[in-house]
Each structure stands twice: as C-alpha cells, then as structure tokens.
C-alpha cells in the first residue's frame, strides 16, 4: 500500500551545516533515493522527515592525490564508472557499479547510499572491503573515520550514529601490482540481485601469496571479509593442496542462507568454485 503523502516531508539541504542540524533534529538523509523510494512507494519507509543531501558539493567530488583517492558519498555509480582513475586503479568498484541496477539507477544511486543501506546483497561492499577503504562521517560535533572492514556489525547494523552523515569514502592506493578479480552470480546478467558476489585482490611473487584480501556479498548477514581464509593463504606457496584447504575454510567462514534468490548449498558451492577460479589464475 502506497504511503500517504501528507505524512512525509522532504527538504533539500542548502548546505552541509543545515543537513547536519536536521540530522540532530531526527531527520534522515536521502541521496539518490533508489532504495528509500522503493520503500516509500511500498508504504514501508520508516522515516517521515527526509533531508536531501545528493547535491551537497562536499559529497560529490572525486579527488585524486598521490596518497589517496577520495569519493564523495553521493558520487553516483555512473560517475564512478566514467572516471579514468577509477577505471585504471579500482576496476572492481567500476565493475560493481556496472552491476548495480540499470543505467537509470546508476545515474541516481550513490556509493554512500549503498554503504549505509547496508544490504548484505549489495555489489559494491565486497569491492570496498578488498580495497580496504575508510569511511568519513561528519556530525555537528566533528568528523571521524571508520575502517570499512569494521563498519557492518550485524544485519543492517552499523557503527555510525543517526546524527552522523557519511561524507567521504577514502580509497588507499595500491603500493604494488595487484591481481584483481570479481564475479557476480545472479539470475540475470543485468539488474539482478546477487546470489553470490565474490571479490578478491592478491599480490603474488614467485608463487608465494604476499598479500590477499577476499570479500563476498549475499553469503552472510553483512558484506563479509573472509579474514580466516586470508590469514591461511598469506605467505603460503600456491598449490592445489593449498587451494583445497582454502575451499574448506571459506565454506566454514561464510554464513549463507536459503532465500528467494538461492540456497545455502548453492551459495557455498559457488563461493568455493569462485575462490578456486581466482587462486587457480594465480598459479
């Protein structure tokens, strides 16, 4: 059932301080609206007062410096894909952006919105996890940074407070050449929510894994960084035995469920196979 329009209010914040003041007063932020408006149209939006933050300049810049790439939280999926440094340095995030909805949703949907919507099935979080990004939040009492790997604490639970606004996502540069890998498994190539979304980066030197990160979507209550698998692989020499061991470990580390899109058993098998494919490419 549709929401009753008169119950809701929306103001577009003139500037960042106004947005932060409204958040303190209990208003909730809306950026591209590609998640919140779906809830609203279905009569399930739990907030009555919304403050539009999509056009705030602080949330819209992509800045590149020698030691960091910083994305404003309201940068859209389209803007990410069109940016040359994102294409060359962070191809997994561009790939995830291209997997998220069709062109119209990519033009409105924002990376920051995807993060704080906190869906475990979203496609950009696994890429953000393997790139080890930091989130910058701001409120009337100041700003702070949170490592994205620590951000999601449970299903739709996050470290941020309601009066804090996600303003920036900081992506550290890669010090060395990384093997980068991402696969999405869904029912349809375009615009499907993932059954499994697998991302990994690794640095390999003469068959030794110097450094590795593995993260997945749709296999746990949160976007999941597989730290046990990473710890078991780092420093090891690649071999079929090692890959078999990693397959066993990742099946223990993920927590997939049966739902409308897939089954726990299928998700486990696909996760193991994608890990094998990735590690096999490094051999």
């Amino acid at each position: 059932m549709r929401s009753h329009l008169a119950d809701f209010d929306l103001v577009v914040a003139a500037d960042l301080p106004e947005a932060l003041r409204l958040l303190v007063a209990g208003w909730r932020p809306i950026a591209g609206g590609t998640d919140l408006m779906v809830l609203f149209n279905a009569g399930r939006l739990p907030y009555r007062k919304l403050v539009g933050v999509a056009k705030l300049p602080e949330l819209n810049a992509i800045t590149v410096s020698s030691d960091m790439v910083t994305l404003g939280a309201a940068v859209t999926y389209s803007a990410i894909q069109r940016h040359s440094v994102m294409q060359s340095e962070f191809p997994l995030l561009c790939q995830a952006a291209s997997w998220t909805g069709g062109a119209a949703n990519q033009n409105r949907g924002t990376l920051g919105g995807n993060i704080v919507n906190a869906s475990p099935a979203a496609d950009s979080p696994p890429a953000l996890l393997v790139y080890d990004v930091e989130l910058e939040f701001i409120s009337t009492s100041g700003s702070r940074r949170i490592s994205y790997g620590e951000f999601h604490t449970g299903y739709k639970l996050m470290q941020s407070r309601p009066e804090e606004l996600l303003v920036k996502i900081h992506l550290p540069p890669h010090r060395r050449k990384l093997n980068q890998y991402a696969r999405k498994v869904g029912a349809r190539k375009a615009q499907a929510i993932s059954k499994v979304c697998f991302n990994a980066v690794a640095e390999v030197e003469s068959s030794v894994i110097k450094h590795i990160r593995v993260a997945l979507g749709s296999v746990a209550p949160i976007p999941l960084r597989c730290r046990k698998v990473e710890a078991a692989l780092a420093g090891q020499t690649l071999s079929s035995t090692l890959i078999a061991h990693a397959r066993d470990l990742i099946a223990q580390e993920i927590q997939p469920i049966d739902d409308i899109r897939s089954t726990a058993r299928y998700r486990t098998a696909v996760t193991q196979n994608l890990l094998s494919e990735f590690l096999g490419q490094l051999l």
């Binding site: 008169a6 809701f8 577009v12 809306i30 779906v38 062109a103």
Partner: protein
C-alpha cells in the same frame, strides 16, 4: 506541512507548481502536468517504464521525490526532439503493447546522446534497465541500430 513550491522545465516549458514534497516526479508529470506518456510499470525502479531524462541523465521518475527535482530540466516522451527514434521504433516493429515504449525511447535517447554509434552490446547495456514483455527485445535493438546507422 509537506506541500512545497517547485520549478520544473519540462520539454522546454517552464512550470511552477505547489506539490507534496514527496510526490513522485512520475505523478507530478502525469497528474499535475497531464503528461501521461510516461508510464508506471513496477513503481520500484526495476522496469524502466517511467524513464525520463533529468538534467541530461536517464532516471526512473517513480523514484524521484518532487522536491529533489526542483530546478531540473526534464525531457519526457512528449518532447518534440524524439521523432527519429520514435519513427525507427514504429518502422522496425519495436512497439507492441506500448507500455514499455516511452521508457525504451527515453533510454535509447539517453544512450545515443552519449554514444552516437553504440555496439549491440552497448545497446543491450544501455537498455538493460528497461523491461519489455512483448518483443523479446530484438526489434527494439534493431530500432536503436537503425537510428545509430543514420548518425554520422
């Protein structure tokens, strides 16, 4: 409390309206401006039937609160600038029941504005957010290729 003034430029015509802040742009177009060419399909951003072009970008008008469109330049299927694409859709049989057609034409227009000669793969990607239950898509892709061939 929730009614708010907004200004829109739709197909080059300026409008100032008083509407509920959260009224969907789709409903503003259809009900307030009587531009009923834009259709509602799913109402959740999955089908693309309500596609319009807002400040040069393809968007789903069912997901845009009126207040967030304040000041925007919008192009809808009623625009006079879409004749070439519309003719190609008619000539290749790309429209059957017609519900998806306005959105498909807007998505094709947004794609061709960015890329005058898209490959078949790029056409498929550009239209991936627009769902058609009649055509099987091939004639829609043919229509876009017809326009693309006419482009320099």
């Amino acid at each position: 409390m929730a009614n708010t003034p907004i200004s829109l430029t739709v197909n080059c015509a300026a409008h100032t309206l008083i509407v509920p802040a959260m009224k969907r742009l789709l409903d503003v177009l259809r009900e307030d401006l009587r531009l009923t060419g834009t259709k509602e399909g799913c109402g959740e951003g999955e089908c693309g039937a309500c596609s319009v072009i807002l400040d040069g970008e393809l968007v789903n008008s069912c997901l845009i609160p009126a207040k967030q469109a304040d000041g925007a330049r919008i192009v809808t299927i009623e625009s006079s600038g879409l004749g070439v694409i519309q003719r190609a859709f008619a000539e290749t049989g790309a429209a059957q029941c017609g519900i998806c057609t306005p959105g498909m034409v807007m998505a094709a227009s947004a794609l061709l504005a960015r890329n005058a000669k898209p490959s078949l793969e790029q056409i498929r990607e550009g239209l991936a957010g627009n769902i058609c239950r009649c055509t099987g898509y091939q004639k829609i892709f043919d229509a876009v290729e017809t326009v693309s061939r006419q482009n320099p």
